[in-house]
Symmetry: C2
Subunit: 443 residues, 2 copies
Amino acid sequence: MRDYLPEDIRRREFVIGVIRRVYERYGFEPLETPAVENLETLMGKYGEEGNQLIFKILKRGEHEASGQADLALRYDLTVPLSRVVAHYQSKLPRLFKRYQIQPVWRADRPARGRFREFYQCDVDALGSTSPVIEAELCAAVAAALTELGFEDFHLRLNHRQLLTEILDAAGIPGELHGSALVALDKLDKIKMEGVAKEMTERGISAEAVEALAEVFRGRIALDVLTGDPMAGLQSVADFVSGADDDPPSIENLRQIFTLTQNTPAAGHVTFDPSLARGLSYYTGAIMEVNVPDLAGSLGGGGRYDNLVGMFLGQSVPACGFSLGLERILVVMAERGMFPPTLATTPADVMMAVFDAADAAHAVRVAGLLRQSGLRVMVYPDADKIGKQIKYADSLGIPFVAILGSNEIAAAQVTVKNLKTQTQATYDQAAAGGAILEGLKQRG
Amino acid sequence: MRDYLPEDIRRREFVIGVIRRVYERYGFEPLETPAVENLETLMGKYGEEGNQLIFKILKRGEHEASGQADLALRYDLTVPLSRVVAHYQSKLPRLFKRYQIQPVWRADRPARGRFREFYQCDVDALGSTSPVIEAELCAAVAAALTELGFEDFHLRLNHRQLLTEILDAAGIPGELHGSALVALDKLDKIKMEGVAKEMTERGISAEAVEALAEVFRGRIALDVLTGDPMAGLQSVADFVSGADDDPPSIENLRQIFTLTQNTPAAGHVTFDPSLARGLSYYTGAIMEVNVPDLAGSLGGGGRYDNLVGMFLGQSVPACGFSLGLERILVVMAERGMFPPTLATTPADVMMAVFDAADAAHAVRVAGLLRQSGLRVMVYPDADKIGKQIKYADSLGIPFVAILGSNEIAAAQVTVKNLKTQTQATYDQAAAGGAILEGLKQRG
């Protein structure tokens, strides 16, 4: 687990601020749940491996000695959401649209670049099966990424049922679907030839492999996917439907693509018949967002109409998308995408203190500068002025304000620009404006 | 522990936003630490009772079965700060000023109004013993409360050493200091007569009790403390010093009071010789902030020059203040202090969908409205229009935008104001401005 030092937090808060603002514009409301859930709420929801990775908390008080756990740290944000929906059903809107940005914990073996505490950034809409939900989720995710400065992302869509239908149409018997999907999942890594080889080894017929290769032709390199998703969808529709009517999965994707065309997702949404994601969980459309310079995705999601029912005993349709905050931060840092206005120093200006007897003046003038909106640190000790300036410079603080006895007598303050090594004296009331101007010129 | 529903989060984020902005203006930087610490880092730092209240986490993997704990949930923000300072010493500024706003966990017996997960909001400055530190902390806390809309708060100051000196000067022998402070702590509740009675019962002489009553005269009702802190300090100085020089504690408080006079703390800072706070921890000035309509404090802090040394093996002077976020929220809610601009509904406008075939238009126009900065929810299903409007009304959404076939043909949209029950039709590009205007008029 990590400590977040100031620069990390400023960057994370910037990204969270953008995502939050965009999601609110799409009518999603904030939700937060406690870090700790009842152990039984979490157990069995993530499979056997997941059970192992849940951090379990000892019973409080005297029962602690028994080594028995009754609580646990949140493992994701979807199960807490389901619990909240079941618990507060009468207090929540029938169409509950929420976003939740909080850390989750997984007791993974410690490894480089893998953390046991990390942020998830989820957005979910519950209560409707309409494709408008999927389209608005895609639009909101695309708007958030666009506002963060991403231009080259692909939002790949597929449909859980359509995958089955493709495998059926290729003539792969149901009992080999799992094997086929495991191979298919490696398409990005080993290309269609590799997938074909593995499928053949797994006992899938040459004819079926050939048919699948046909369907996934053009899928190999992501950049050919930027065309019209409807064209790709039509060719898969022809493959699975033949002379029959298109199955509902095709119709559903068609509606979603149509709906996204006049949203920020337009030009980013693509159809990827090979997209599989976690299969057990999803029931309808599935989606994933990628950028070229990151192996793995920036996030993903889909429709899961059965999960909430596990808590409520009554089915509630749901669809969600989870953005990987840490990955977004990594790509933005590598690409230098953070705005230059984001603070990187503890203060804009350091108030030096010449003489301990004058400290009250320093504190007062610091107050004036703060009223201008500046971030001001008062150097607390009357060290030699050279030492004070050196300290400000070592922290990258761009300006030092100096109050000598002359300045105090004349209600002035001297401002030193540490980069240009120039200084000027201002009326105390005017210094803030001058420093703000200087900050702007530094860019 | 609680789930935070949308209104709770909006209020909390508003308060945190103000505090964060103010603390940044005072040169404090954000720090966050993981929820989970090594168990041994926490054990023994909070006394025997504290050890009991720490949530302990089972060892991961196969070791889980042993019932052995190696991790624990953060109990406060001060011990993690001390660990960070010890661990990152070379990466942190010599004068490290940080704020930290995160939840902490305590395994308290569940009780009404007491939560086992709650937010702390700490600000600390490390690396200097200068009274400028205390003065700037008081100024920052006062500025934050003022910006939140509080006007009637008192920032009471005292000094850990001065308390000892007062008890000495009153003739109370050292071994009765503890008893005297326990009685003194009840001054607000049982007034000076009650304190005097209890002190007498605890074996303190009538003369000593009489002398203390003299010192604390005028302390009984908080509202008489709003005068000049210097006058009160002088009268206590006369009491403890007699013909000798004033002790350093008096001199230190005098400097702090002088320094705060030209800051937002002026008019709020008072001297309270009876203020005790947790005695084991503090080494110098101590402070507490109160409002008249809340029993207990909104927050408090003080100088603790020895705690970080426990981790670093090298003394680091430190001074901090912790605001009680939950209490601030309670008082602000009771007083109706939240700005009316704070959203209380999931959206500003709901986009109705007349016909499923027109949903793409609804999604498109919703995008236009969002570009105006509005929060827009698209109703996902083509239910009867009356049902859709009723739904918006039930959520308090003030406007509904309606797209019928006439409007679509004319590139217009009809906007219904649910409060006034009036409606008007606008060009689609102009509707956003009209709704914003309507929202302003609602105030």
